[in-house]
């Protein structure tokens, strides 16, 4: 007898996501449906505005991955105008991007994902001495004494005894799917709190160069933070020292807290290898060592993998009109030339037309349209994007750091490479990548210092700042690898104004509804075949969905304008 369950709201994500799942008689997920339930219509809002302002508008798509849209936006405007930025601007952007990746992954692991693996209530029965022994056996991190864990346990006990469980209320504590011993749960709770305190330090690098976080400032043509070693109102040695200290502390925290915790926790779950899903992986790549127009210089390579075949990495060209296309077979939109065909972002349209049930409703009609997300495809293939995609592409290409780290993790856990194609593999890939991006932070800091030492302090190219110098019409593509995966912005500028702007976002790739051929996206595909212990406690669903790090404000579409006015919206 099939049973249908709904998880809405999915918590510990960005934005509004709804999952409906159909279970078979053994409570195994037969079908899953992923729906974005929010739409803000920014595409209409951007039309006609100054392209130099677009970064600020698009940045507000998401405050969690709070730099990625700004970066993709300035890159697409610069691509359209033919502007190369000075080396310092490229390096500062890379440093800020690496900072974002590292902080975002850390917050995701501890605050958005850990509670799918860690039972907070179980920690109350931990032996502090044993917790201390375990902690000291896996890491030199200093906060691991018996007294430290004893004190934490007492605080946790008092918190639970208060009867006001706050963010831990009504969750799935005691669920059979939690496999950690109480002591490891206690260690994880300690680091949940430590990471919550530490994450705010990492982003101070954004504040140095961008003035604030969330939503630091970016600039078409470079960066606004001028360098002047003889001024206390510019980037000077004191600012650079602050950045360096944060980088050192970050590397220590990732190496001594995040990675040991990840390996310790994964050790208990290596038998739970569900959630693999599509087996198709896509990355645009990022961290240019030279120009953004030279993908060969990227520290994160561009490419695609199909059917888990690591022997072939396909070339990806987001400007090729035949490669990236968005479909709307199950999305609440219409296309002017028929809904059956996908459109490349440069010819994309967004005409919202809600045909779902009127609220309040119990179930979506998943045979028809059921999401505000579109359905992107690469050469007609559904693709997964994000840390696992990037790590697999680097692994397949033989990046030494990634190969060593992945092999070390696999060996420590005593599992084969096939374990990577799973929910746990996705979560492990994020940690491995976080270690890599913390290293990138230091790499780009050193680059910045070397460049300043050589006498170059330029941060801005003013050649195309004045709109009077712009061509009457041009178009551009900008990209980044957001923490959640490949992000692309496509712009069309006409008469110094934005004529069209379209974005294809990582969570749109991963969370999209089915395409016209009935093929699922990454979330839906990953959930299929997962057995649930108790359908009323959807721990397994949360675990797999969270492993993608959903960002629904990004995914629920968003930007593209082809002069389609929203006044044509019809409600059936």
């Amino acid at each position: 007898m099939a049973k249908r369950i709904v998880v809405d709201p999915v918590s510990r994500i960005e934005g509004h996501l709804r999952i409906e799942a159909v279970l078979d008689g053994n409570n195994t997920i037969k079908e899953a449906y992923s729906s974005g339930t929010m739409w803000r219509g920014l595409e209409i809002i951007l039309k006609g505005r100054d392209p130099r302002d677009a970064w600020a508008f698009t940045q507000r798509i998401c405050g969690v991955c709070t730099t990625v849209h700004a970066l993709a936006s300035i890159r697409c405007v610069e691509d359209a105008l033919g502007v190369e930025v000075p080396p310092n601007a490229r390096i500062i952007r890379n440093l800020m991007n690496a900072t974002q990746q590292t902080q975002d992954h850390l917050v995701h692991f501890y605050h958005l994902h850990a509670l799918d693996w860690v039972d907070v209530v179980s920690a109350l029965s931990a032996d502090p001495a044993e917790a201390s022994r375990i902690a000291q056996s896996i890491s030199p991190w200093p906060k691991s004494s018996v007294g430290y864990f004893k004190d934490l346990k007492a605080r946790l006990q008092a918190f639970v005894d208060s009867g006001q469980l706050g963010i831990f209320s009504n969750a799935y504590w005691g669920h059979k799917g939690y496999l950690l011993p109480p002591e490891v749960n206690l260690i994880a709770v300690a680091h949940y709190l430590e990471a919550l305190d530490f994450q705010k330090e990492i982003v101070k690098i954004h504040t140095v160069f961008g003035g604030k976080n969330p939503h630091p400032n970016y600039l078409v043509g470079g960066m606004a933070s001028a360098i002047n070693l003889n001024s206390d109102r510019a980037i000077n040695i004191e600012r650079l020292n602050l950045v360096k200290k944060i980088i050192d502390d970050t590397i220590t925290f990732i190496d001594q807290v995040y990675i040991p915790d990840l390996i310790a926790i994964a050790g208990y779950y290596k038998g739970w290898l569900y959630g693999g899903g599509l087996g198709n992986y896509l990355a645009y790549g990022d961290f240019p060592e030279k120009s953004v127009n030279d993908p060969n210089s990227f520290l994160w390579p561009r490419g695609a993998i199909l059917n888990k075949d690591l022997n072939t990495i396909y070339d990806v060209d987001p400007k090729d009109m035949s490669q990236v296309k968005e479909e709307i077979a199950h999305s609440w939109y219409t296309y002017s030339n028929g809904n059956g065909k996908g459109l490349h972002p440069w010819e994309g349209e967004t005409n919202p037309q809600y045909t779902g049930p009127q609220p309040p409703y119990k179930y979506l009609d998943v045979d028809k349209k059921y999401s505000w997300l579109k359905t992107p495809r690469w050469k007609d293939n559904p693709m997964e994007v994000g840390p696992l995609s990037r790590v697999l592409i680097q692994y397949a290409k033989g990046d030494p750091m990634i190969v060593d780290t992945v092999n070390y993790v696999l060996k420590t856990l005593n599992v084969g490479p096939e374990a990577l194609f799973s929910t746990l593999g996705r979560t492990a890939a994020r940690g491995i990548e976080c270690k890599q991006t913390a290293g990138f932070m230091l790499h780009f800091y050193n680059q910045l210092m070397e460049n300043i030492k050589s006498g170059d302090v330029r941060t801005f190219n003013d050649r195309m700042w004045d709109p009077e110098r712009w061509p009457s019409e041009c178009q551009g593509f900008g990209f980044t690898e957001a923490p959640r995966g490949a992000l692309g912005h496509w712009i069309h500028i006409k008469d110094q104004k934005i004529a069209d702007y379209q974005i294809v976002v990582p969570s749109t790739w991963n969370a999209s509804p089915r395409d016209g051929k009935g093929r699922s996206g990454a979330y839906e595909s990953a959930l299929k075949g997962t057995p649930m212990d108790d359908p009323n406690m959807p721990l397994e669903i949360l675990r797999t969905i969270h492993s993608f790090d959903p960002c629904l404000a990004c995914a629920s579409h968003i930007m593209d304008m082809n002069g389609n006015e929203i006044t044509t919206v019809k409600i059936s």
């Binding site: 509004h16 709804r18 739409w39 963010i167 976080n213 969330p214 959807p538 404000a553």
Partner: protein
Amino acid sequence: MEKKETFAEVFEARGVKRRDFLKFCSLMSVYLGLAPTMVPRIVSAMEKKPRIPVIWLHGLECTCCSESFIRSSHPIVADIVLNMISLDYDDTLSAAAGFQLEEIRKKIMKEYKGKFILAVEGNVPLKDNGVYCTINGESFLDVLKETAADAMAVIAWGSCASFGCVQSARPNPTGATPVHKIIKNKPVVNVPGCPPIAEVMTGVITHFLTFGKLPDLDRLKRPKTFYGVRIHDKCERRPYFDAGMFVESFDDDGARKGWCLYKMGCKGPTTYNACSSIKWNEGVSFPIGSGHPCLGCSEPDFWDNGPFYTRRADVSFVGVNSNADKIGVVAVGAAAAGMAAHAIGTAIKKGTSESKTVETEED
């Protein structure tokens, strides 16, 4: 929910020494701008009050407010969510999901009727029966109205909840509407900014917890403590404005020397916020301090007051249309006269802003 701890008990149970607790209370008083004589009152309040439940809803938004909130350095967010309030419902941090999470909301509404705080991040799409934002099949409008009906007070986080922000920028396709235009029978405090400064957010909460009432608000329902003075009036680059020394192009000589960004489009002269006093991320910097003009992100309709890199308006005074260039010339020639001109211009500008306030209230 039989036993409700006071703050002091919570601190004690968590191993916080009495001396540290008193120190915390003193810091809070300094932070809130209170006289030292108020410290005993804070201590007393923290010792006697149980943790207040908070329901934190998300509408049309980007979660930058939540992200800012967890950046708070004093107090740190772990202390807030574990020791000071009971954050019982929050899409971003709650362990529970789906119907278990919705159960919590209903339970708090019932058990703490009139005694919980409703925090709202994001705003409400009013067009087309609310289909642009649904939670568990219900429109966000219904969820908000239902929850607010039992709340003691409503905190509207950020420019979305306070004024509308990016999704309500022209032509506002979803009918995105700020909270105070929908919830009219409860006290609402607006905490604008995109996002608001972390310590402003936690300051508003701790003010409420400590004194049992909302901070004093201005006509836009903003706490006077943090939104009473323009960024321009406390800006470290203000002397350069007065002296007529302006950045003319990014990364020019003036930019490298930290001169005034007014000509680059800086909205500091028309923006009320604490960026140039409290600053961001534990005082590390603020937008102008890092060389970028203020976008005015805590002001109503700031997205439609652009373009961002264009000077918003000439400063006009006493029947003479002047501008930054002319003021600069005056200032160089006769500093006193220039200062006076600016002071008058400032007063007029403030008047303009307040007349806008009235419009915002009425529309």
